[in-house]
């Protein structure tokens, strides 16, 4: 790679002041100018930099050269004044004009244009003399740009598309309104101004110099253009305005200039009713706020009132609560007493049953001895009497045992374990072997599932059901399991429909038959099964048709 050493930029740091924030430069007006912040200007001479600080304004936003002049715009900044300034032959001259938009344009033949924010502009040319000449734009709008064509005509393009031409050849050149279009807002006052009319020699009284028409309507003559322009109120839509000069011996271009308008609806906030409506809404809002405030006060009052009521009720409630607590304490006391008395009752039943057993055991025992050893010495009636004593004593023993079982159901809870039902029943058959063999019955044991429960009590349930089946005349007994229920089925005396509901109540006995049964057995069974979260029920096809007792456990 070849490097042309001569064209490599040289580092000029020692010569170029960089510490003063140079913002832009201008090449012209006899030098190379560097503009920095706060009005700092440096001029490059052949032998170095010259610092020039004595500017009329402080903050130069734009500078443009014109021949040996330097024109610049300075903003109102840091206490300085805004305007247009000129540097010529070591002299700074400020022109305190209106605020400029900061735009400058070169025209033909060293003409400069400086646009103003309001739509006017300044021309700096040979013709303008020693100071810039102000020109009013046809529309009070921001100038977008100004150009001068080759023929010397000046084209001013405003915001929204308006084009205004200043003719350079016509006399007077600035009276012409050229075809163009502009967007205006509905209700805008359209000021069409005529520049240069002062050059016209006023005509004799009553002779009109100009005519204008709107939307191709009739021409209206007027003598002098009004200073504020033509007041035209436009409706939304497209319109046209034509103006022509009347040539009465003057060399005036009488062709009409036309300007078209596109009138847009006024934005909401600029409509006439906007502020009244906004004001009304505001007033209404204030009113509402006021009402709300009043409502709040009212609500606050109600809230306070409510709080009072709540407090009162709370007090009532507290009082009630105190009463309730004392009642609860009383109830607890009563319950405690009840439990104690229940406990006493249980103990009483236990002692009674035990103490009652003692003589019964003796009665049965001695009756047994009599029947075993002394029947020869006794009459048939005597033997019968002793048998009855023994039988009744045994029955009494059973009643007492049942009572005891029932009374202990609620107070004594045994842990639930897995029960091997089949083994349980086989053991039960052994235990009841004598009873079974006496009755001469056939017992079938079907397949049974293991369950969880209180083994002692489940045994008692089976014992009771089996005992019932034996006592109520069954000759064939089946024990099995079907549809989640255990069953003990017999072909004994059966149960009538009327009785089937009553049998599980304490002390009910179906029939006063002379059997070894105790009515409390089924009540005991029901309670045990209920404690095992199950159900117990009986089914029978009627008297003489046998019965089946079912029970379930752990339904939940």
């Amino acid at each position: 790679m070849h490097i042309d050493e001569e064209n490599v930029p040289q580092v000029l740091t020692p010569e170029i002041p960089t510490s003063d924030s140079p913002r832009f430069h201008v090449d012209g007006a006899g030098g190379f100018w560097l503009f920095g912040d706060f009005g700092l200007v440096k001029k490059r001479h052949d032998d170095g930099w010259e610092q020039i600080n004595e500017l009329p304004g402080k903050y130069v936003s734009l500078a443009i050269g014109r021949g040996d002049e330097l024109w610049f715009i300075f903003d109102a900044f840091a206490g300085g004044r805004a305007g247009l300034g000129r540097y010529r032959e070591d002299v700074w001259t400020p022109f305190n004009l209106n605020t400029l938009s900061g735009e400058a344009y070169h025209g033909a033949e060293d003409t400069l244009f400086f646009a103003e924010r309001g739509g006017d502009f300044y021309i700096v040319s040979d013709k303008s003399g020693d100071r810039p000449v102000r020109r009013s734009a046809p529309l009070s709008r921001m100038i977008r740009f100004i150009v001068q064509d080759l023929m010397g005509d000046l084209w001013v393009v405003g915001e929204g598309g308006a084009v205004f031409r200043y003719r350079s050849d016509g006399i007077p050149p600035e009276t012409q309104i050229l075809a163009g279009s502009v967007d205006v807002l509905h209700g805008d006052r359209l000021n069409v101004r005529f520049e240069g009319v002062e050059r016209f020699k006023p005509k004799a009284e009553g002779i009109f110099q100009f005519s204008w028409r709107f939307d191709s309507g009739p021409w209206t003559d007027f003598r002098m253009p009004p200073e504020d322009g033509l007041p035209i109120s436009l409706k939304v839509g497209e319109h046209s305005l034509e103006v022509r000069a009347q040539d009465e011996g003057f060399d005036v271009d009488t062709s009409a200039a036309q300007l078209t308008f596109n009138v847009h609806p006024i934005p909401l906030q600029e409509r006439r009713w906007f502020f009244p409506v906004v004001a009304s809404v505001s007033v209404l809002t204030l009113l509402l706020a006021g009402i709300t405030f009043v409502s709040r006060r009212r609500i606050a009052y109600y809230a306070e009132h409510l709080q009072k009521l709540v407090d009162e009720r709370t007090l009532d409630l507290k009082t009630a609560n105190i009463h309730l607590n004392s009642e609860i304490a009383e109830h607890q006391q009563a319950e405690k007493a009840l439990r104690a008395s229940e406990q006493n009752m249980q103990e009483l039943i236990y002692i009674a049953s035990h103490d009652l057993q003692t003589p019964i055991v003796s009665m049965v025992g001695f009756a047994g001895i009599i029947l075993k050893r002394y029947t020869k010495e006794m009459s048939a009636e005597g033997i019968h009497a002793v048998k009855r004593i023994k039988w009744n004593a045994e029955k009494m023993r059973k009643i007492i045992l049942s009572l005891l079982d029932l009374s202990r159901l609620n107070t004594v809870k045994n842990p639930h374990r897995t029960i091997k039902t089949k083994i349980l029943l086989e053991e039960l058959f052994n235990e009841m072997g004598l009873q079974i063999s006496e009755k001469d019955v056939a017992i079938k044991l079907r397949k049974l599932p293991d369950i969880k429960g209180d083994q002692t009590r489940i045994t008692s349930v089976f014992r009771n059901l089996l005992s019932n089946a034996l006592n109520y005349g069954g000759k064939n007994i089946t024990i099995g399991f079907t549809k989640n229920a255990f069953y003990v089925k017999d072909d004994g005396i059966g149960i009538s429909e009327h009785n089937i509901q009553k049998i599980f109540k304490a002390g009910e006995r179906l029939k006063k038959v002379d059997v070894d049964g105790v009515g409390m057995g089924l009540t005991f069974c029901r309670k045990v099964i209920e404690q095992h979260e199950g159900k117990i029920w009986a089914e029978s096809d009627g008297i003489g048709k046998g019965s089946t007792f079912y029970f379930t456990v752990n339904d939940s």
């Binding site: 049953s353 035990h354 057993q357 003589p359 055991v361 049965v364 025992g365 001695f366 047994g368 045992l401």
Partner: protein
């Protein structure tokens, strides 16, 4: 060789009628024991077995089986059970509890305290004798086995 007959059977029973009936049936089936000793309460039972009080210096051999009633005044069956099973010399003597009720808690308590078995007080005398006979033989055998050690 196993013994089939107990030398001494100790009956602890506060109820004279029951004692009478039990001894009657045991005597009737005389093959169970050579001698049946009846004591009327728990205190006497302990004294007899441990050779205390009026039984101090008793020469007879110790009982081969004890039939012990549960519900007795003063020292009841459980108390006697505790005392005897805590004594190393006599704890091997089999003790069979006599219950009046079918109260499973009593039975469980007795077994937990070291009772070797239990039987319900007789209503069915044949069954009672059969049970005592079987238990007696069994415990006599166990007892001999222990003494032989």
């Amino acid at each position: 060789m196993q013994k089939s007959k107990l030398d001494i059977l100790l009956l602890v029973e506060d109820e004279p009628d029951h004692a009478h009936l039990i001894m009657d049936v045991l005597t009737e089936h005389g093959h169970l024991a050579n001698q049946i000793i009846w004591v009327k309460d728990g205190r006497e039972a302990v004294d007899y077995v441990l050779r205390k009080g009026k039984n101090k210096g008793r020469n007879s051999s110790r009982p081969g089986l004890i039939l012990l009633d549960i519900k007795m005044p003063e020292l009841d069956g459980f108390d006697v059970l505790k005392i005897l099973k805590a004594d190393d010399d006599v704890k091997t003597i089999p003790i069979v509890m006599l219950t009046t009720t079918r109260n499973s808690e009593d039975v469980e308590k007795a077994l937990a305290l070291g009772a070797n078995d239990y039987i319900s007080k007789p209503v069915e005398w044949e069954a009672f004798v059969k049970t005592v006979g079987e238990l007696g033989k069994y415990w006599a055998f166990i007892s001999d086995a222990n003494l032989a050690k």
